[in-house]
């Protein structure tokens, strides 16, 4: 087989694995089923990924990076804190909606310690970005004088809840607009 088909194989594996891990969790997804879904032999998987753990970590990293890039674009290009927060929440929710498999980044197998270094770093980065914009909003007198860090944690918790909700109860997931409005109303000074 030539290089092009090798690239295709890796792509197939990634897609199949992402799907399987998202659906069944790390332990619930088997290499056999991933291989089958990717249209490759079980042994073939190991040509592309050293083992199950590395395959999963690779996917987690990739998804987190993808999301990070989206976030960066927002915070680099939007000046207004109100709009930035609004866009960040909307982007997060839309992202989770479109990339259901993003749930993989929330995988809780292996005692939640799975890929924790990578995830923790990601969470730290995101927290810094949000906290920063909230603080700006407070300093500019746009937001009420709340503790920026606490607000940040609430926002991140809400987003995390959204992702989980989307997977557990996809028909009854809240609307990004409402969520955003509710949170912003809570943040904004009462007399605009």
């Amino acid at each position: 087989m030539n290089r092009r088909s090798a690239l295709k194989s890796k792509e197939n594996i990634k897609k199949a694995a992402l799907e399987a891990f998202s659906k069944y969790g790390y332990n619930g997804a088997s290499m056999r089923m991933i291989a089958h879904e990717a249209g490759i032999s079980v042994g073939g998987l190991y040509l592309y990924f050293k083992n199950k753990e590395e395959l999963c970590l690779f996917l987690i990293k990739e998804k987190l990076n993808e999301f990070s890039k989206n976030a960066q674009i927002i915070f680099e290009n939007v000046e207004d804190p109100i709009e930035a927060i609004s866009r960040y929440i909307n982007m997060s929710i839309e992202y989770a909606k479109r990339h259901r498999e993003f749930i993989i980044t929330q995988t809780r197998d292996q005692g939640f310690t799975f890929g924790m270094d990578i995830k923790r770093e990601f969470f730290e980065d995101q927290k810094k970005l949000i906290k920063n914009i909230i603080q700006q909003g407070i300093d500019k007198g746009l937001f009420r004088p709340l503790d920026a860090f606490e607000v940040t944690k609430v926002i991140m918790g809400v987003i995390r809840g959204y992702i989980l909700s989307f997977v557990m109860d996809p028909d009854n997931v809240f609307d990004a607009e409402y969520c955003c409005e509710l949170i912003l109303k809570g943040l904004l000074k009462e007399n605009p």
Copy 2:
């Protein structure tokens, strides 16, 4: 062994199983490990629970019922919608904090379908309770004229996010007070 020690055995199993499923997920927790932690033999487990699935479902049911009772008490005894919502959010968060193992109810192993009927029913019930109180608040002119159902979904999402945050990133979990304040501010009419 007599009846008292049989009760003790069952209690030990439940405790050990709850811990194991919470820590390692459904597939990650093994019957052997549960038996060991419960101080009972592997075969002994099967005297109390038909199989792994039933053991897990039993625990999920129990936890959901426990939570439901707490919720019912709030909504039966508190008249004021503002206070009811506030108490519900606080209770949920405190509950998750004290019963970390509550995460078991959010388990997504086995293709999400695991115990889904029970969970869905529980979620429906909770949604009804919250939606009802929100609607009352709107009707009484206490809350802004939002869509009660959407607000309900946001609130449930937030709580779900809290539970997940608490497990994934326990050092950076948001404060119940702040969360409550933020959401209420968003709900309340601007000029109280």
Copy 3:
């Protein structure tokens, strides 16, 4: 099954594993074939030994200990250096002859590093014992004034060679008496 049959199972496994490792080497022997020979299921093996490596190391330790005890008895009870050396060589060779599986202690799979700590310790102990008795022989004027350590290494090399010969070419293995005589003649003062 009761305790007695558990002991019997472990004994069966040890016997089968010793045989298999001796015959086919560490990598050449499969857990499946050991299980089959022991009359147990593959999974059953793992009730008694954590994994293949531990099973093999256990056997190596056991055999080395057994041999060590034999050696100790000789050196504790025999005063005359000539007789002690003679008995040690004879014992070693007889031991290897009777316990063909002793070859397991010479296993060279895994880059010879397999169980090396245990083996090295054993070799050091044996070297000390032999060197000591050789030195005594030299000091008493029974042996020629050779370097006791070099002689020790030759003797151990000869024994090692015997074990290997016995496995590779069992029909043409040298006689303990001849070997002993040859070495002693080389050691002894010419005019007795």
Copy 4:
């Protein structure tokens, strides 16, 4: 590629394979690892050797032949039995020291039957050569009237022991001179 680079490839493979088999044993060495070390593709290996077994047998044959030639030179050119034996022992030990990979010829993977015909033939040849020279020494009255065949087996055992010692415990290997002296002292008539 032209003939010269094909030769180079085969040479690389042989070198890499010898190293790998010596270090890890027949089963422990993988074709992939050999290919990698030889700087060739996995498929490429099979252009030069039909399969793993043939590759290994080829190496064993080559090493045994090389050694045989060395032995032949000694016995063809040296008249004096004492010197011949001395040279043979020294040559063997030096050979093993310089060609550590010679250990491959002592490999006991695959149930000892691996390449056994070749090895047995080699051992027979060597035994004949040594026995012959020992007998000459006895007949000439230089050596004590021992059983020539038994002495031969001891000498071969010693050499075999040296090779194994060298690999298992390289820091504590005996000195060729000492070994030789010890054996010759044992062989020689007491009053020269």
